[in-house]
């Protein structure tokens, strides 16, 4: 693709197209002038707080809010009983106590009958200040009848297990999707089972089976969730400033939940302090702030505290996986089967395309060439917070990439083969693309071996292995871990992919003003990705307008076209494509105007960056700025141009894009303490065309830190009483600058053949690909102790126990 050095620079020194440039956003952020939801203060605004359940499973006997209501400064106390009494003109239920989830389940806004997880919303206080609202929570007296909770997902379907969703008349804790399925299968069960059975019977083959858990973690953006809602009772206009990655989708959901007319709802998602999937679902707190303004007639602010964010909003993962891999003794992979028990918590609140109830987990066959793959996912309710698809997971490709990369390493250990050699023997070859995977995904492009060789070269792989052998001889435990991942991102083709019936296409609008400056209006919403910079670069690349002359607007549903938002690494693959398409529409229209001005036919014109000129006469031409003014002038315009250059587009992706990469991690493990030190981390990503390499690399850095965190530190576990053991940053450990190494990045560039600029998206690649590299490195270090697997997080205690042959079950507290 376009080499960076070929891109001309604007007067401000920015590339007129692709290349690293400083971010537009930074000017406000470094001055402390960002505008996050908690920075929004409206006249007369009230504050609010939520009373949450201390129990994981309990019947509500009574709620006495009299003392709270009597506290000076308290405006209203709302309970589930009150919500039950508010009629809702909606297809989704007849009152406000329950709301729909994004997976066609229901979730309590405020508990009426039972609480079903620790931290569940029980009552809502609106007061004159945040301090008074919190005081009032202490005065609400709730009598609970404690019930036995279901905390172990493996026992959720046992006969006699307590029933969590008795509100739906359930007789067990199974989850049924919108199509009536209780399990989600993919691939060919019969051929995969036959291949594995044949391998077991064949002395020249091996089958390795490993239980692998991806424990519950939390995206924990630095900014918690919150909203400021105001219903103007005169105009009927609801304005809601809220932490959402998908403002348009939220608008439609609020219209459905609240029964308000959608044209009267304005969602403003200002600066967002990180999302990572945590800000996709609609939470009870958002709905309560809407109810708060309906009840009080005043603006109402709700901002979570950190504990609330960790215990109640969308968690991630919680997949109990058992993987079997069959291969020849020479290392040719034959088949992979994965059985999954999926813990969805108390409500099925997963945010993902409707027809993919296990997300894109079935892309688990990975980056390797084999014919037989099958998975079966069994989802269950437990007495835990709802969620599951979040934390930069690309709709559960994190779990998929982790299980295949972990079990391939188990196979390498069984075969006593170098894990790099095993991967190189099985990687898909360039001539196989487009490649139809055994579970039905069509990978668009890739040169996998090239990327892996770049990573091995950067790492000095052979030298690392020599160093490891020397260290082992001295009783030092160094490990080298490899992960090769393939993602499918950019959801997605609307024929296959929707959320709550909303097809996953994204709109865009480009206005070119008479002076040749432009405004681009996006449906997607940055949470730090730098859209104001990169989307201007896409238009600059297509039209030759300097990026500093293009203002990018986003995050306000009244001022931007409809689209599904930013998650699943979809901004560049979907909206980035839309930006290119809409700019090309403008370019085509400009050609007609230029032809009229130059008194020739449009076909007589050629394009060079920023300018149409007469074929064979480069001097005779018009720049985009000149054409923009002409389009608004008295020039008589031909058919097909109404009078300006502005255009709109909706991009419905023909397919997903498939970024991939090879990561190599080097660790040193202290066998006496179990401490793991990540010494080096090499990451070679191929995300196709890079719009702004600086921003791409920054996103990779962040995802690598996620991987180190999840592999070594992060965990939401529970005790058997249902207490969340990760409810603060003192307990939920995130990596800091001292746990993270100096990331070493490389790249290959294999453009997507079906994306207008060849870009594949990169936002989640490193989070998807890196955990397996870290874990594989630690297990590699521990292999002299006979360790084949231990689950994340590989804390010192867990590593030490693994060395003793007794790795922890991480999802439950040690009894």
């Amino acid at each position: 693709m376009t080499a960076v050095e070929e891109v001309p620079l604007s007067a401000a020194g920015n590339p007129i197209g692709f290349g690293s440039m400083r971010r537009v956003e930074d000017a406000r952020f470094v001055r402390g002038q960002g505008n996050y939801v908690d920075d929004v203060n409206l006249p007369g605004m009230l504050h609010s707080a939520i009373l949450r359940s201390p129990h994981a499973h309990a019947r509500i006997v009574s709620i006495d809010a009299a003392a709270a209501e009597a506290l000076p400064g308290v405006v209203a106390v709302i309970t589930g009983k009150i919500l039950e009494g508010i009629p809702r003109p909606s297809l989704l239920g007849d009152n406000f106590a329950w709301m729909p989830t994004l997976s066609y389940d229901t979730q309590a806004v405020l508990a009426t009958d039972k609480v079903r997880f620790q931290g569940q919303e029980v009552a809502y206080v609106i007061a004159e200040s945040r301090y008074i609202a919190k005081d009032a929570l202490e005065l609400i007296d709730v009598e609970y009848e404690i019930l036995e909770p279901v905390m172990d997902a493996k026992r959720a379907l046992d006969a006699g297990a307590p029933i969590i969703r008795d509100d739906k008349g359930q007789t067990d804790n199974s989850i049924t999707d919108v199509h009536g399925n209780k399990t989600w299968e993919s691939g060919n069960a019969e051929s995969t089972a036959a291949a594995i059975a044949a391998a077991k019977a064949d002395p020249n083959c091996v089958v390795v089976t490993q239980e692998i858990m991806y424990p519950r973690v939390h995206p924990a953006p630095m900014e918690t969730c919150g909203s400021v809602s105001y219903l103007d009772k005169v105009t009927g206009q609801l304005t809601m400033y809220t932490t959402t990655q998908a403002p348009h989708a939220h608008r439609t959901v609020y219209a459905m939940v609240a029964g308000l007319p959608e044209q009267k709802i304005r969602i403003i998602s200002p600066d967002i302090g990180g999302g990572f999937g945590n800000k996709v679902p609609v939470y009870p707190g958002y709905v309560l702030s809407v109810i708060g303004t309906i009840v009080t007639g005043k603006p109402v602010k709700w901002i979570e505290d950190r504990g609330e964010n960790l215990v109640s909003t969308g968690f991630a993962r919680d997949y109990h996986m058992t993987a079997s891999i069959a291969a020849t003794k020479e290392g040719k992979i034959l088949a992979v089967d994965v059985d999954v028990l999926a813990d969805h918590g108390a409500f099925n609140g997963v945010a993902q395309p409707t027809n993919y109830p296990a997300g894109f987990f079935n892309i688990f066959s990975g980056s390797y060439d084999y014919a037989d793959a099958h998975c079966k996912v069994t989802p269950v309710y437990t007495n835990k917070a709802p969620g599951g698809v979040a934390y930069a997971c690309s709709f559960r490709i994190t779990e998929a990439a982790y299980v295949i990369e972990r079990v391939v390493d188990c196979l390498a250990q069984e075969l006593q083969m170098d894990p790099a050699e095993l991967r190189l023997k099985n990687l898909l070859r360039p001539e196989q693309f487009p490649y139809l995977s055994p579970t039905g995904w069509e990978y668009d492009s890739g040169e996998y071996e090239k990327t892996m060789r770049v990573a091995m070269e950067m790492a000095g792989y052979d030298e690392l292995r020599r160093e490891q052998a020397e260290k082992r001889a001295k009783g030092e435990y160094m490990g080298i871990g490899i992960s090769f991942f393939t993602e499918g991102v950019g959801a997605g083709p609307r024929r296959d992919m929707d959320i709550l019936g909303l097809g996953m296409a994204d709109g865009i609008e480009l206005r070119v003003h008479p002076t040749g400056k432009a405004q681009l209006r996006l449906s997607v919403q940055s949470q730090g990705q730098g859209h104001e910079t990169t989307f201007a670069q896409i238009v600059a690349h297509e039209l030759g307008i300097p990026p500093e002359d293009i203002e990018v607007l986003h995050g306000d549903t009244d001022n931007t076209p409809f689209g599904l938002g930013t998650y699943g690494s979809r901004s560049t693959p979907v909206s980035g494509a839309a930006a290119s398409v809409v700019a090309r529409k403008v370019r085509d229209r400009a050609r007609i105007v230029a032809a009229a001005a130059l008194e020739c036919a449009p076909d007589d014109l050629d394009w060079e960056l920023g300018r149409w000129y007469v074929k064979g006469d480069r001097e005779r031409g018009k720049t985009i700025a000149e054409i923009a003014l002409l389009s608004h002038s008295s020039l008589e315009l031909p058919e097909g141009v109404e009078g300006h250059l502005d255009a709109t587009a909706v991009y419905n992706p023909p397919s997903l894009t498939y970024p991939y990469g090879c990561y190599i991690c080097v660790v040193d493990v202290d066998p006496g303490t179990g401490q793991v030190k990540v010494r080096r981390f090499i990451a070679v990503d191929d995300c196709g065309t890079r719009i702004n390499p600086m921003i791409v690399e920054g996103q990779v850095h962040g995802g690598l830190a996620d991987g180190v965190g999840m592999a070594l530190m992060e965990l939401i576990a529970f005790d058997s009483d249902g207490n969340n053991l990760g409810g603060s940053f003192m307990d939920y450990l995130l990596p800091t600058a001292v746990e993270c190494p100096d990331w070493e990045l490389g790249e290959t560039v294999t453009p997507s053949p079906h994306h207008p600029i060849g870009a594949k998206g990169v936002g989640e690649s490193a989070t998807v690909g890196s955990p397996a590299a870290v874990v594989n490195a630690v297990i590699d270090a521990l292999s002299p102790f006979g360790v084949r697997h231990a689950d994340m997080p590989l804390t010192p205690a867990n590593v030490w126990r693994a060395i003793q042959g007794n790795a922890m079950r991480v999802d439950m507290a040690i009894e």
Binding site: Y131, P221, G273, R306, G528, S728, A737
Partner: protein, 159 residues
């Protein structure tokens, strides 16, 4: 109770509850929203500002304790329309993404350079290890502080 705290050189007098946190005083009474709040438990450091020239996690200090003291926030870094080198470094080296942790990181970074003008990479990492960033993986934050160390003269405004 009435307190007077000098914030970025300007005295701010306010009648407050004794339990009011300094971060809330700065955001609400002084009206400066660049100092953020992120965890309540002194772990994340997005609320870092200076009290009498030293970094403090303002979610864990009462405003009353700062009565009569000097507070400096991110809004106090820019002088006369010219960015501080630490601010310029974060722009030059892509030291921020969502921007939420950035004010706290810059306040700590500026303090480090005031006390150790040429810190090693390890010293920088150690100095910001009480603060969390979820976007950058820290590499570019370290580079941003290094940039500021290498460009101690007041920067030109370029953003």
């Amino acid at each position: 109770m009435e307190v007077t705290i000098t914030v970025n050189g300007t005295p701010v007098t306010s009648e407050i509850e004794p339990r009011k946190l300094l971060v809330h005083f700065v955001r609400e009474d002084a009206g400066l929203r660049g100092t953020h709040w992120g965890c309540d438990t002194s772990n994340c450091g997005t609320c870092v500002l200076w009290v009498d020239g030293s970094p403090v996690k303002s979610c864990t200090m009462l405003a009353a304790q700062a009565d009569g003291h000097e507070v400096t926030t991110v809004e106090g870094l820019e002088q006369g329309g010219v960015l501080d080198p630490i601010q310029q470094g974060f722009i030059e080296c892509h030291g921020l993404q969502c921007g939420f942790c950035t004010p706290g990181m810059m306040m700590t970074g500026r303090w480090l350079l005031d006390n150790n003008p040429n810190p090693s990479e390890a010293e920088i990492r150690d100095c910001i290890s009480g603060q969390i960033c979820r976007c950058t993986g820290y590499k570019n934050i370290v580079a941003s502080i290094q940039w500021a160390a290498e460009h101690p003269a007041t920067s030109e405004v370029t953003a």
